[in-house]
């Protein structure tokens, strides 16, 4: 009776443990996915500098900021240091002093002709919108009494570091009011298609402060281009520039993924042949006593902490590569794709050796003996009989090594150079500094504000990495099983 009760309890206990461990994979997936949702809260900032200038102003010069130009720029509350400028009122003519032309922008206008210059501020000059939001800005531009020329020009250019091609809004600049008595040319510019330029207009001067809103009025219309924030975020995710902390954040994951794939692929290339050969040696050629101590020694390599391998590469391999090939290949930092992939190859070799050796061991002895009975030497039997029989399993071993390298953080972090740019498609790729997927999570998560788009994107790339490694692992398992059952 007692025994049966204990049996009953334990049966349930082990089942609960087993099933909850089985559910772990689902909960990892759930939490990665649920934290990724913050990625889709992102805003898509845009920024232009737009100024009315005397026609003689040099066009090569950058459009200046205050007070000559009005600036639409990306700024989040409190994060960009622009707060002190936010409440600037429209400057009075006296304040403008020797300035010839000026413009002040505001979105706070319902009736243009009644706009009160003293009420206009740049309070809401923020271009920090989600992909589906529209926005309208007005720009009041006029000459001051100091304006001597009879022509002015409206000039515009994208804000520094803003790339209009990566935006998700249609932005148009339109002239909607000309000063009384002036016939101005039509101004209706697509700021995305033509991110910088200028158009000449007849000069007009505001004689009094009250006239400041009676001059040229431009309307900047911002219309959503993408269907929703979701598609726009995903669109931005599959681009090739990763600069999440810039004023115009870019979350182009492809830069990281290609670097990781390059390092991992190269590592596999370096590791696969020596590993398989070593496995053949261990299983087929080594005397039993040698095998018994050699296998644990090789597996010991797998247990050396990766951060130690990283430092080893940093302090010895990297300088060594630079002093040997630095001149010939013209690179001076050893922290690059090549260094990272060599260390990564060393990291994954034991994994491949160990699994490949097990696979070879699973080939039935009858096959090998059959081969030898036909007069093949040991090596010939291995090459013609054992390896073909174990082929799927060896492939699986390679794939597991690949998956291991794909998610490795510290080696890439320490050795790859840390620059999140797209890896070039040329031999220079070998010596380019790059940044991979896993190490980006480690590097950036420490400085990130929780539950914000950047945080969400780190979870999103984690989710992609998770799905990628898990599918490779599952596929490798299937392939290896086929090797056992097929024989």
């Amino acid at each position: 009776m007692k025994a049966r009760f204990v049996d009953w309890i334990m049966e349930r206990l082990v089942a609960i443990s087993g099933i909850s461990v089985g559910l772990l994979v689902l909960s990892v997936f759930y939490f990665l996915a649920s934290e990724s949702r913050y990625a889709f809260d992102r805003k898509f900032p845009y920024g232009y500098r737009i100024a009315l200038q005397p026609a003689s102003a040099p066009s090569a010069e950058a459009v200046e900021m205050d007070p000559n130009a009005s600036v639409i720029t990306a700024h989040m509350d409190g994060l960009d240091g622009l707060d002190d400028k936010e409440s600037l009122p429209m400057p009075t003519l006296a304040e403008l002093g020797g300035v010839a032309t000026t413009g002040t922008g505001s979105p706070l206008v319902s009736n243009l002709s009644e706009a009160d210059p003293t009420q206009l501020t740049r309070d809401d000059w923020r271009a920090w919108k989600s992909a589906s939001e529209a926005e309208t800005f007005f720009l009041y531009a006029y000459g001051t009494p100091e304006l001597k020329e009879d022509k002015v020009k409206i000039r515009w250019e994208p804000d520094a570091s803003y790339d209009p091609k990566l935006g998700v809004h249609n932005i148009r600049l339109k002239l909607i009011q000309s000063p009384a008595g002036i016939t101005a040319p039509k101004v209706d510019v697509d700021l995305v298609a033509q991110p910088s330029g200028e158009i000449e207009l007849p000069a007009w001067q505001a004689k009094t402060d009250a006239e400041r809103t009676k001059g040229y009025v431009f309307k900047i219309e911002v219309e959503p281009m993408a269907a929703s924030n979701l598609t726009a975020t995903l669109g931005g995710f599959f681009k090739s520039e990763w600069s999440p902390t810039s004023q115009y954040p870019k979350y182009g994951f492809l830069a990281l993924l290609t670097s990781t794939l390059a390092i991992t692929g190269l590592a596999l290339l370096f590791a696969i042949v020596p590993s398989l050969l070593a496995a053949v040696y261990l299983r087929e050629l080594a005397p039993r006593r040698v095998r018994e101590w050699l296998k644990p020694v090789i597996e010991m390599l797998a247990s050396i902490p990766t951060v130690v391998l990283g430092y080893f590469g940093l302090m010895l391999l990297a300088p060594g590569l630079v002093s040997t090939f630095g001149k010939a290949l013209s690179f001076d930092s050893g922290r690059c794709v090549l260094t990272a992939s060599i260390m990564m190859a060393i990291l994954i070799m034991p994994t491949i050796v160990s699994i490949a050796e097990d696979t070879l061991g699973n080939v039935p002895a009858a096959l090998r003996q059959g081969g030898e009975a036909l007069g093949l030497t040991t090596m010939e039997a291995v090459r013609r009989v054992v390896i073909p029989a174990a082929k799927p399993g060896l492939l699986g071993a390679g794939m597991l090594g690949f998956a291991r390298a794909l998610g490795e953080t510290m080696i890439v972090w320490i050795l790859a150079g840390g620059t999140a740019t797209m890896i070039p498609f040329s031999p220079r790729a070998l010596v380019s500094p790059v940044r991979g997927v896993a190490d980006t999570i480690g590097i950036e998560m420490a400085n990130v504000e929780f539950e914000k788009p950047h945080y969400g994107h780190l979870f999103l790339i984690g989710l992609v990495l998770f799905l990628l490694t898990i599918s490779i692992n599952l596929y490798a398992q299937r392939v290896s099983r086929r090797s056992l059952s097929g024989v």
Partner: protein, 273 residues
């Protein structure tokens, strides 16, 4: 060629281990191991990090042990072959191959933020335990499978119940394998920086031996994170101390490893099958 490849592998291992030993040994002294860092890490020892790593290892071991072993027993002895158990087995081995940084993210989302544990020793334990459990489950299952079927059949023939057979007959036979798997996994976990990076780690700590319940809620310094962060901040820690830290971390992992391997070899020699 095959022999040469194996030779190259052994050579690589010798070079790496040898270099770390050669560069790190001069830094190691009793004082280095037993005192905290001084003068903004430019002098002094690594005791707080060593202590943190050992604490993390012990806690992970304790948390991993019951669930990992019970779940392994279930897969080996109780789970009947069905679509569900096949799915569970596949997902456990897929998890065992999942990158440690993913567990770091998971731990951050669930333990640090959702359960509101903050960056703390406890969150680090739980995260490392999640990382270790799948591997322990697999090695436990494997160890059970290695016990000859005749042993199990004999026990059942003697009238023992399923659990009695599992616990009194199978488990002692599988124990060496289970223990080795457990210790190897936990040692590997203790050498990983990414999971604790996001859940438990702190860079600068001069903490002494003080250990109380509130230690659970505080972040801990530890060796792998110390090296990672030391790299991030660049050039602060002198090279000699870095090599010393590398060596201490490597030895910590390798000694535990070696012990586990020896225990397994001894225990295997005693079992006559």
């Amino acid at each position: 060629m095959a022999t040469g490849s194996a030779g190259i592998l052994v050579l690589i291992i010798a070079i790496i281990v040898g270099t770390v030993l050669w560069k790190g040994l001069p830094a190691i002294s009793w004082e280095f191991l037993s005192t905290g860092p001084q003068d903004g890490m430019t002098k002094g020892g690594i005791w707080p990090m060593l202590r943190g790593s050992i604490l993390l290892m012990i806690g992970t071991l304790i948390l991993t042990l019951p669930i990992g072993i019970l779940a392994g027993i279930w897969l080996a002895e109780y789970a009947t072959e069905s679509r569900l158990t096949r799915a569970i087995r596949a997902s456990v081995s897929a998890l065992a191959g999942t990158p440690s940084i993913i567990f770091g993210l998971f731990g951050l989302a669930i333990f640090v933020l959702k359960f509101n544990l903050g960056t703390s020793l406890l969150a680090g334990w739980l995260t490392l335990a999640m990382y270790s459990i799948p591997m322990v489950v697999l090695t436990t299952e494997q160890s059970f499978k290695e016990v000859p079927q005749s042993v199990e059949e004999g026990a059942i023939a003697l009238g023992l119940s399923k659990w009695q057979t599992t616990w009194k007959v199978m488990f002692p036979n599988a124990l060496p394998g289970i223990l080795t798997g457990l210790v190897l996994t936990v040692a590997r976990a203790a050498g990983e920086a990414p999971p604790i990076l996001l859940t438990a780690a702190i860079y600068y700590s001069t903490e002494k031996l003080s250990l109380g319940w509130d230690s659970l809620n505080r972040p801990v310094a530890n060796l792998p994170y110390h090296l990672a962060e030391g790299y991030r901040q660049g050039g602060v820690i002198p090279e000699k101390i870095i090599w010393g830290t590398c060596l201490s971390l490597m030895l910590l992992v390798l000694i535990v490893n070696l012990a586990a391997t020896i225990i397994r070899a001894r225990a295997r020699a005693k079992l006559n099958w």
